[in-house]
């Protein structure tokens, strides 16, 4: 009796601690990310529903199959005196477990096909956004408005993510999921989104929109979205695109149609002002200040903050013959690119290019120490 009692007490204690531990685990997991987002579009909602349906189906199948296995493992064991039966086939059973899965699969294929057809209807869009992937930033062209936005990792994340930066990523808001220039899209509008790339393959993915699609150099992929709720939606590049693949996030700010129209006007005005930069003489300090910003946003990931580059991959600017050589050669490389170095002709305006070159020629151990004016760049285009 006392042995039985002891056994019961021990089992009870084990069971109680099991429930306590699993309770604590579930409480902790409750705060941790677990499932697919429902998102903010009809597509994402449909995809979420489909995901849940399939998850439930495979869970039920799993419970049935695993239960049979477990039953067998616990009951048909030699230590319990089980004697092996010698049957080795059953045509009925084998036909049944071929036909039943086929029926289940067909049942799954029906909603999947409907959703896929829905997702591929890219026609009758009200506006078009062209997304171009670059190593390692995004360019957005609002084709109907003639507005272009360049979007790269924000400064705070970029500083914190450098090795040995000493900055705790926990102190950076939206670490690695924030950009310098978020794009703005109107809600309740069918937007056609074209994806392509300039160098290698990228993939544009905002989970809340319900899909991702590769951005392939030389090809244009056709997608659409229709955002139901205003808000800020974040995503990342999803196709390995080189060294800084993990550092080219996407931020979409969905706003009302009126706010969107106002934002477009702002962008147009800003573009005009920037284009004007080449028409005046800039002071050295002004160029140096702007150049530092441009360098941090566009150059630092390859050529590094100390200008020494990465051996074997990205050449040093510190002490470089080109940076210390004639201005015309340097302008040519920045405009048109060289080997892995992308052409910055389209990415940066005359003032940005002049500023960053001035910054480089005056930084580190470089001896050129001269000024390049935006007008020089404009003339070289």
């Amino acid at each position: 009796m006392s042995v039985d009692k002891l056994k019961r007490t021990v089992l009870g204690a084990i069971a109680a601690s099991f429930f306590l531990v699993s309770g604590a685990v579930f409480a902790a997991i409750g705060d941790m990310p677990l499932n697919l987002t429902k998102g903010v579009t009809e597509t994402s909602q449909r995809v979420y529903d489909l995901h849940m349906i399939i998850l439930y189906i495979v869970t039920v199948i799993g419970i049935i199959v695993f239960s049979v296995m477990c039953w067998s493992i616990f009951h048909h064991r030699k230590s319990k005196g089980a004697v092996a039966a010698q049957f080795h086939h059953s045509t009925t059973a084998e036909i049944a477990w071929t036909i039943i899965p086929i029926i289940i699969l067909v049942a799954m294929a029906v909603p999947a096909t409907k959703t896929l057809i829905f997702m591929e209807q890219t026609g009758d869009a009200e506006m078009t956004l062209k997304v171009t992937g670059y190593q390692w930033k995004w360019k957005y062209d609002y084709l109907d408005e003639g507005v272009t936005v360049w979007s790269a990792l924000d400064q705070a994340s970029n500083e914190a993510r450098q090795r040995d930066s000493g900055i705790d990523p926990g102190t950076v808001e939206n670490y690695l999921l924030d950009v310098d220039n978020p794009i703005v899209l109107p809600v309740n509008t069918k937007i056609r989104i074209l994806t392509t790339a300039a160098d290698v393959i990228h993939a544009w993915w905002v989970p809340a929109l319900g899909w991702k699609r590769d951005a392939i150099p030389g090809f244009i992929n056709d997608n659409w979205t229709n955002i139901k709720e205003p808000g800020v939606y974040r995503g990342q590049c999803a196709e390995l695109c080189g060294k800084d693949h993990g550092f080219m996030p996407i931020v979409v700010r969905a706003v009302s149609k009126q706010e969107y129209a106002a934002w477009i006007e702002e962008q147009k005005a800003a573009a005009l002002a920037a284009a004007d930069g080449a028409n005046r003489e800039w002071a050295k300090d002004e160029l140096l200040a702007k150049g530092k910003e441009v360098y941090a946003a566009n150059c630092v990931s390859c050529h590094q903050a100390n200008g020494n580059g990465v051996e074997g991959l990205f050449p040093a600017l510190n002490g470089s013959a080109i940076v210390n050589g004639p201005a015309a050669d340097m302008i040519n490389i920045l405009l048109n690119g060289k080997n892995l170095m992308p052409a910055f002709k389209e990415q940066l305006n005359d003032a940005d290019l002049a500023a960053v070159m001035t910054h480089e020629r005056n930084s580190w151990d470089n001896t050129a120490k001269d000024i390049i004016q935006p007008a020089d760049v404009k003339a070289a285009r």
């Binding site: 990310p33 677990l34 499932n35 697919l36 449909r46 995809v47 399939i54 495979v58 799993g62 199959v65 695993f66 296995m69 067998s72 493992i73 048909h76 064991r77 030699k78 089980a82 092996a84 039966a85 049957f87 080795h88 086939h89 059973a93 084998e94 477990w97 071929t98 899965p101 294929a109 999947a112 959703t115 896929l116 450098q162 090795r163 930066s165 900055i167 705790d168 939206n174 670490y175 690695l176 999921l177 290698v200 393959i201 319900g210 991702k212 699609r213 590769d214 392939i216 030389g218 090809f219 056709d222 995503g235 990342q236 999803a238 390995l240 693949h245 993990g246 051996e311 074997g312 991959l313």
Partner: protein, 531 residues
């Protein structure tokens, strides 16, 4: 390599001695041993790279490695594990077991056998030497997608030639297996009496012969794109970068089954032995394996749903992918039915086989989920797929290989292995492998992309749990090494049959078997065959 030196000292076979025995070996057992030892070494090299990945991902921010080196780690980890660990382990088991299982003295082409093994160390020297080159080791993913892969520095031709050599080695191995099984079966060993391990390997060998040349062609086009001015994959020259992905995955999907079918074969040997009951549905197992292999050539594009295919293409590849669930289901049901009403015992090989049964099935479920195209648009290139293929590859395939090693180790060495240590190995591996890979499902669904060296802080907790699981899993594998060494050095004498419920020709030979397995072909009847 030292470990086989002891195990056959009591036979009177003519066998070479010293280093020449290994360098010039034409013996299926010695070559099998070399394959297995090589695979084990590569498993630990690839595992060390995984440890670097998990170390860097233990917390947000970059602490230990640069992003470029991180990408090299993920890329080379995959190449080493697939081509260096899993495939050679499968070939090693085939080398050891197939001649004994079909009643032959050795493989059909022993010199080619030697060459197909000795290519491997050279191929991996080429591959791993890229770490010391300008531009570093391959960092564009094991899938080698252009244009990214073409940005690699001096290492690119080394990567490509390493792949060529690996393909050459695999094709030679495959030809040898086919020739052996087709020509050297003992009298009475008809095709439908072959052990299932032999069946899965014949089918695997045909897959290898069909798929590896496609990969070789694809990477050769990369080579000419980079060095000879062609533009197969460059849109600016009229090419198409997506074409490479089609070529690659036309190899890559059959490759998945090249990896998994031998594991299916192994557990089809082990489960009947320890259930003391014949394999359920032998014929349907053979047909299901063949159907899986056949279908595997029609589903490649499900690896690249997001490249933007026409609707009809997406639908075709979705339906074809779902269809593979049917023969795979048949196999799982047959294994379950084999255990049903058996008289089971749970020695280490059986434990690992049951592990395969449960966890491969789990990986199969997520595979089905990703076959559903519209949902795959969310899952693709996230940790969800990382979870899926690691479930299939580690507890699905590596566990199968480990099960095979425990199952046949007493036959190879003549000694029983340490059962207690084996059980520790199984339980520690099973617990840690789930801590390692299960949370990856959550990370993927929550939106963490794969192949990133750093992540948003919301993903920290799961990543820490995963890294701890990874370390535990890696350390647990050292038990295997200890068990194998201990077993070679001594232990309880193994009987010829080794396991109470074991059937098949390999268990009619002494343990350890003679240097030349069957010098006189045995007569095979239904009673002595596996099925």
């Amino acid at each position: 390599m030292s470990y086989a030196a002891v195990h056959d000292d009591e036979h009177h076979d003519h066998k070479p001695t010293g280093i020449g025995r290994w360098l010039f070996s034409t013996n299926h057992k010695d070559i099998g041993t070399m394959y297995l030892v090589f695979a084990l070494i590569m498993f630990f090299i690839g595992g060390a790279m995984a440890m670097v990945i998990r170390l860097e991902l233990f917390q947000p921010g970059l602490q230990y490695v640069d992003p470029q080196f991180f990408n090299s780690m993920t890329t080379v980890h995959a190449l080493v594990m697939i081509f260096g660990a899993v495939m050679p382990a499968g070939v090693g088991l085939a080398n050891w077991m197939i001649p004994m299982m079909v009643g032959a003295p050795d493989m059909a082409m022993p010199r080619m056998n030697n060459m197909s093994f000795w290519i491997l160390p050279f191929a991996f020297t080429l591959l791993l030497s890229t770490f010391f080159m300008q531009g570093g080791a391959p960092a564009g993913g094991w899938t080698m997608y252009p244009p990214l892969v073409l940005q690699l520095g001096d290492g690119l031709p080394f990567l490509i030639f390493a792949v060529h050599f690996l393909g050459l080695s695999s094709i030679m191995g495959a030809i040898n297996i086919i020739a052996t099984v087709f020509n050297m079966r003992a009298p009475g060993m008809t095709f439908m009496r072959l052990p299932l391990f032999v069946w899965t390997w014949i089918i695997t060998a045909f897959l290898l012969i069909a798929a590896m040349p496609v990969l070789a062609g694809g990477v050769t086009m990369l080579l000419t794109d980079r060095f000879f001015g062609t533009a197969f994959f460059d849109a600016a020259g009229g090419g198409d970068p997506v074409m490479f992905q089609h070529v690659f995955w036309f190899f890559g999907h059959p490759e998945v089954y090249i990896l998994v079918l031998p594991s299916f074969g192994i557990i089809s040997q082990i489960i009947p032995t320890f259930a003391r009951k014949p394999l359920f549905g032998y014929a349907s197992m053979v047909y299901a394996t063949a159907s899986i292999a056949f279908l595997s050539f029609f589903v490649w594009a499900h690896h690249m749903f997001t490249v933007g295919m026409p609707l009809a293409g997406e639908l075709f590849f979705m339906y074809a992918t779902m269809a593979i669930a049917v023969p795979t289901g048949v196999k799982v049901f047959n294994w379950t039915a084999t255990m049903w009403k058996g008289s089971m015992t749970f020695e280490t090989p059986m434990l690992f086989s049951i592990g395969v049964l449960f966890m491969f099935t789990l990986g199969g479920f997520t595979g089905l989920m990703m076959g559903i195209t519209p949902v795959d648009f969310q899952y693709h290139d996230t940790y969800f797929i990382v979870a899926h293929f690691h479930y299939v590859l580690v507890p699905g395939i590596v566990f199968g290989i480990v099960a095979g090693v425990y199952y046949w180790l007493p036959k190879w060495t003549g000694h029983m292995y340490d059962e207690t240590l084996g059980k520790w190995h199984f339980w520690l591996s099973t617990i840690s492998v789930n801590i390692l890979f299960f949370p990856m499902h959550f990370l993927g669904l929550a939106g963490m992309p794969r192949r990133i060296p750093d992540y948003n802080t919301q993903f920290t907790d799961w990543n820490q749990i995963i890294s701890i699981g990874g370390l535990a899993f890696g350390l647990s594998q050292l038990i295997l090494v200890w068990v194998v060494i201990k077993c070679i050095r001594g232990g309880e004498k193994a009987t010829d049959q080794v396991w109470e419920g074991a059937h098949g020709l390999e268990f009619t030979l002494p343990s350890p078997p003679p240097f030349h397995s069957f010098t006189t072909p045995p007569e095979v009847t239904d009673a002595t065959a596996h099925s």
